[in-house]
Each structure stands twice: as C-alpha cells, then as structure tokens.
C-alpha cells in the first residue's frame, strides 16, 4: 500500500510522520505548481471551490509517482467539503485512475470512530503504537505551527529580504527529518532562537493585520497567492486565526488537548451570526472581533471563490466593521487569481491602514 494525501500547507510533514511511524510507504504529492492546478481544473467541476480542484491535481500527480491509496478528511455538512471525497471518487473513476480512498471524517459520536477508521491504515500495529505515532505527528504539527507563526510575525521586520523565510525553510526541513519527540522539541526551540538572532528592525512601526477565513486558503500558501509572505514584505505584521494543530485538536481529538480552541471566538460571533454555518463562517466573524479587541489595524478575510460559509460571513462583516471601527478586506481566490493583482490589492489596503494611523497620530 502506497499512501498519499492532498496538500494543505505543512500538513505533508505531519502526515508523513504519522504514516511513517506506522510503517507505511508514503508518497508525498509533488509540491503544488501550475501543472497541479491545471490538471485539477481540467477534470473538476467548473463551479466547485478551489480546494477540490487542487486536491484532484495532487491525486493525479501522486498517482504518477506510484500512489495507490489516498487518505483525506471528510465531513458531515453543511459545508461542501464534506462531500468532496464522493465527487472526487467519481471524477477519478471516470478518468480511469485507480486510487483507493480512505476518508477520515470528524467522528459523529465518539473518537473511537476515528480510531476505527485509522485502523484500516494502521493494520497490525498495536493501539499503543498508534497513539505514540499520533503523538509524534502532533508534536511535529505544533512545532511547525510555532515556526510559521513566528515567521509571519517577524517577516515585516527583516532588514535583508528573505532572512526569515530562509530560517523558516531550514526549520521546516529539520522538523521533517526529526526522528523523536525530543528531537522535534529541540528543533522547535533552536529555530525560534534562530529567528530571534536575526538582525531585525525592532524600531519599525508596523501595521498589524489579522487573517481570518476558510481553512484551506489560510493554511495553503499557494491557494492564497502567498498572501502572508506578501503582507510581510509590504510591512505588515501578520497573525493568523487558525493553525493546523488547533483544527486537529478541535475536530479530530474533540478538544482533548489544552491547545487554544475557538469556543470563545464562536461566542463572540453569536450576536452577529447566531448559528453555525459550516466551514469557518462563524470563526471568521468571531476572529475579526477578536482582532479588533486586540487592537489590530485591519483584518483580511480569505476564502475560495463561491465558499458558502465565507459568503455568509462576508455579508455580515459590514456590521462588525461598523461597530468595531475595523477595516476588513475580503479576498476570494480561485484558479484565475493572479499574484500581481493580489499584491496591488494588499498594497492598497495597507496604504489605507497606514494613512488612517497617520491621521490618528499613531504613525509619523
């Protein structure tokens, strides 16, 4: 069994750790490129949202490398993502691609359901070994999220462009290659230190921007046109409302671990959006309010084009903007999104925030 999976940010490192630990042959799909996207677009429904298309591209490229089984997450509504795997299965079948799909869905009732499904993959490994593997993978997840967070925070202060990303990439590689939990923790500390020993401009008055929105576009840099990096280069300190480790803890472990969850965020959204709308609609509203309360200068909401939960959130966002005096920019991305056009919009947004700050006397 040669297992592959769709890309989503740094998730490849985590899944590789998990499956490798269980003694599987893992085939990481090639990094997302233009070819991946064109393959996906060619075979996917035109009006499906971007992640489905990129997934298809990943699958095809992974099969070319010899994969025969794919694991991916599912869902039980109301967001479209929950039905992705069924449509993708039909697409692959019509293409004549032979790929066995194992869908890990948020357990309906109990974490046991998830473990049971994992059992298909774990095979003869003992429960103890499985738990150890999950712990190891999760440790990597936490470490890499910490590095990514730090990189987004510091990128705007680097004196030589690319310094932060060089350290970040080295850290990614080191964590990927770490063999034990101890080693992962050591890597994390080492590279956090490396970030801080860079020559950074700590005097610089920066614009603080919070990113909210849909998980795939937040986590996968290619799906958002490398938005975090560009914001950093444009001089903005970026904070993201969602990380993989938080999602895994909340949805797969049902909040067992003491990692920051989004209960509070959802509570903040209640007066504006009183019921769940699937995806991260409520979290987008709540996240924007959180950032407003923390004194951020602006919020950018990202999502794939036609994302239903984000559209609901976007419709309500003007009210949040008005009541908290918080500028919000909504950006939808799809296969047509060009990086240059995106940068222009980000630049204009940051210019506006800067001018607002200057008018308020907070910036010279």
């Amino acid at each position: 069994m040669k297992i592959t999976f769709p890309h989503m940010g740094n998730m490849d490192i985590v899944i590789k750790a998990l499956l490798g630990e269980l003694g599987h042959e893992v085939i990481t799909p090639p990094p997302i490129t233009k070819r991946t996207l064109s393959l996906g677009v060619q075979y996917s429904p035109e009006f499906a949202c971007l992640p489905l298309k990129v997934n298809i591209g990943n699958f095809i490229e992974a099969v070319e490398k010899g994969a025969d089984t794919v694991i991916m997450a599912g869902g039980i509504g109301p967001c479209r993502f929950g039905y992705y795997n069924q449509v993708q299965r039909e697409i692959l079948q019509d293409m004549g691609v032979n790929l066995n799909m194992v869908v890990l869905e948020p357990p309906d009732q109990h974490i046991g359901e998830l473990l049971k499904r994992l059992r298909i993959i774990t095979g003869s490994n003992s429960w103890w070994k499985l738990i150890k593997a999950i712990r190891f993978a999760y440790e990597k997840c936490l470490a890499i999220d910490a590095l990514e967070k730090e990189a987004s925070r510091l990128r705007c202060r680097e004196l030589q462009r690319g310094d932060v990303d060089r350290v970040y990439q080295k850290g990614q590689k080191a964590i990927d290659q770490a063999k034990t939990v101890k080693e992962v923790r050591r890597c994390k500390e080492e590279y956090i230190k490396a970030f801080n020993s860079l020559t950074l401009d700590w005097q610089k008055k920066v614009i603080k921007i919070g990113l909210v929105g849909e998980i795939y576009t937040l986590l996968e840099p290619t799906a958002s046109g490398y938005m975090e990096k560009h914001l950093g280069y444009l001089g903005a300190e970026v904070d993201r409302s969602l990380y993989l480790s938080e999602w895994v803890n909340e949805h797969l472990f049902k909040g067992l671990l003491p990692v920051k969850g989004h209960q509070e965020t959802r509570k903040l959204a209640k007066p504006y959006l009183s019921c769940i709308v699937g995806g991260h609609g409520q979290e987008s509203i709540g996240g924007a309010i959180e950032y407003a309360k923390k004194g951020f200068d602006g919020v950018i909401q990202v999502g794939p084009l036609t994302c239903m939960p984000e559209i609901v959130a976007q419709s309500i966002m003007p009210l949040v903007e008005k009541e908290y005096g918080l500028p919000v920019l909504t950006i939808y991305t799809d296969e047509q999104t060009g990086e240059a056009g995106l940068i222009t919009r980000l630049e204009a947004f940051i210019d506006m925030l800067e001018r607002k700050k200057i008018a308020l006397g907070q910036l010279p």
Binding site: P45, E46, F47, A48, C49, G74, I76, G77, P78, C79, R80, G82, Y83, Y84, N85, Q86, V87, R89, E90, I91, D94, Y272, L273, S274, C275, I276, V277, G278, G279, G281, L305, T306, C307, M308, P309, I311, V312, A313, Q314, S315, I316, P318, L319, K322, T330, Y332
Partner: protein
C-alpha cells in the same frame, strides 16, 4: 412589539426560497391565527436591482432576490416571516446560506435601514422536536397568540401542506398547485378528502418528448430567475417533470447505492430525483444551477456524470445568474431540443431498418 390582541396583524411572506415549498403551511397557519398574509410581488426588475444592491456580489441569484423581496414588503406589513431553515429532515442540513440568511438580512437592515421588522425562528429537525411546529409556535407566541389557538392553527397548516405535497407528488405542475395558495381565503374552502392517483410519466402512444428539469424550486418556478425556462419548454409542447414530483422514498431508493448519503436535503432531492428519472423513460435532462450555488456545483456534477455513464439521456447544464442573457439561454434550449428531436428520428429509422432486415430475412 405588536400583538394579535391589538388589531389584525399583517404578516409578509417573501416570494422566494422557502416560499415555493412551504407556502400552504405558512399561509394557512397565519390565517388561522387571524393574521392577514401579504405576499411580495412576483420577482421583477426592481426587486432584482434592490437585491443586487443590498447583498454582496458573491451570493447566488436566489438569495440576492430574497433581499429584494423582503425589502419590497417594507411599509406594507407588520412583520416579515423569516424562518431560519437549518434542517428540515433528520440528520440533514440546508445550504449554509439558508442557515445564515436571517443574520444576513438583519445585517443589511441595520446597515441600510428601511427594512420591515422580522419574525425569525429556527427550524432545526436535527434537534428532538425542533421542526416546523416548534418554529411556528415560537413565532406565534411572539406575536401573542394563545397555545390552544396555535395548536389548532398548526393542525390546519399541516393539513394544507400535506395536501400540497400529495398533489405535487401526484405529478401536477407545481406553479399551478402553488397558484391555488396564492390567493387568500383558501382556508374557508372545505377539505373534501381527495383521491390522488399517480399520473403516468408518459401516456401510451404519446409522442411528445418528456424532459426532466432538475433544479431548486425557488429557481425553476420563478419565471424571472429561470428566464421562463419552464414556460418556454411548455410552449414547445414538451412534457416537463421536476424532482418535486418524486416522493422522498423514491429519491432515497434511487441514491441508496451511493457510499455516502448527501447531507443537504435539497441536494438529496435533486440527486435522488435525477437518478430516479434516469431510470425512467425520459428524452432529456436539463440541470438548472444558480451561479455560485455550492450544493449545485457538486450535485450537478454528479448528475452529469451519472447521466453520461448511462449514455442514454442527453443532458444540458444551465448556470444562471443576473447577468445571464435571455437570448443565450433560448439558443441553448433550442439546440438541445433539436438534438433530442434528431436522436428520436435516428432511433425510429433504426427501428424501421431493423424491421426491414427482418422482412428481407423472412422473404428469402
């Protein structure tokens, strides 16, 4: 808040979305409570323009139009009934936009002003006892009705809805059935128990083509948003059937082989209806999707794929939004009908040929 004890209350029902499925229930319920019911005018250019102005660009056309309909009731009614349709069947959802609709409208009302007061209640069959009865009771209590009166009104409402659904499932043309409920005073007519016999899909020796038109009722039966598709087909002497005529049981049976059930109840209706029709003798299938509709992007794709695999039924996939030109739609429909006609002729001549060969064989 105004209550029934003051004076007769006027309740407004927007002629969009849930209206096409639940009008009898709502109308009879409110009229039995002694309220006057006012419908918004049929969709027109002014309503569309208003809707497009008040909503964000990315929402689908039917939701945009809903904004317009609610606004059109301003000043004419005391309240607009705006149920939050979370789930109308157990273990299902509706599309996220239905879930967020009351909040979206409320946000628009606060931002723009000039909206009527809203009566919101959650319809959530996922919770025990959380269906329509609960929602309508909540609403009626809010306007000051007594429990006993509500109970009686619910009884009448349910009866009307049942009759409505039975008539639809018997194969009557939905707009005709709906038209009976569009005038007030239906409540006073006597309810003689009627026998319903299932209409035959195709009368014997009838040569008129049968086309299944698949789409959401709120789009198909609003001549404005569907570019009068149904009317055009009928004009050409085509027999049109829609998923509204398919019973839940049949639709479930048609999708039983799918590895995972669809968690949108409307999506299930469309996919189940399509698969059911594909097994019947139909000459063509038209799928009408709203631009940006999330469920349609996946369900429509599946329908197209299944239809293609069966290889018998020509399909046409129409995506409609407010920029769709009528002429373009007409051309596509005409081309499609020509195709069906040609296919029919081909099959007939082939049958004739078969007959001939048999004759020759017998003669020699």
């Amino acid at each position: 808040m105004k209550s029934v004890t003051d004076k007769s209350i006027t309740i407004g029902l927007p002629r969009a979305l849930g209206y096409y499925e639940y009008l009898p229930y709502w109308r009879v319920f409110f009229e039995s409570l002694g309220c006057a019911v006012v419908l918004s005018p049929p969709t027109n250019k002014a309503i569309l323009d208003q809707g497009v102005r008040s909503s964000v660009d990315e929402v689908c056309l039917p939701v945009k139009i809903y904004y317009g309909h609610v606004r059109a009731l301003a000043g004419k009614v005391d309240y607009v009934f705006l149920p939050r349709l979370i789930s109308v069947e157990e273990k299902t959802y509706l599309c996220p936009k239905f879930l967020g609709l009351p909040d979206m409208i409320r946000a628009a009302a606060i931002m723009d002003g000039d909206y009527p007061e809203l009566l919101v209640a959650n319809v959530n069959s996922r919770l025990p006892g959380g269906g329509w009865e609960q929602a309508l009771t909540e609403v009626a209590l809010a306007i000051g009705c007594s429990r006993s009166r509500i109970k009686e009104a619910l009884r009448w409402g349910k009866k009307a809805q049942e009759e409505f659904e039975n008539t639809l499932e018997a194969g009557e043309y939905p707009p005709d059935v709906l038209a009976r409920w569009e005038k007030s005073g239906r409540l006073l007519e006597s309810y003689a128990p009627r026998e319903f016999t299932q209409k035959k899909l195709r009368a014997k020796d009838n040569k008129e083509p049968v086309i299944a038109v698949i789409g959401h009722p709120y789009q198909l039966f609003d001549p404005f948003t569907s570019m009068n598709l149904m009317g055009r087909l009928k004009e050409k002497g085509i027999k049109v059937i829609t998923p509204m005529a398919v019973t839940n049981q049949r639709s479930q049976e048609a999708t039983i082989h799918l590895p995972k059930r669809i968690f949108w109840s409307f999506g299930q209706k469309l996919l189940g209806g399509s698969l059911h029709f594909l097994q019947e003798k139909i000459d063509g299938l038209i799928y009408v999707a709203a631009f940006g509709c999330g469920p349609d992007s996946l369900v429509g794709e599946l329908v197209e794929r299944y239809a293609k695999r069966s290889g018998q039924v020509p399909t046409l996939y129409l995506t409609i939004d407010e920029h769709t030109g009528e002429a373009g739609i007409v051309t596509r429909i005409e081309a499609f009908l020509d195709l069906i006609e040609r296919k029919k002729v081909e099959i007939e001549t082939e049958n004739d040929k078969d007959d001939n060969t048999v004759d020759v064989a017998l003669g020699s």
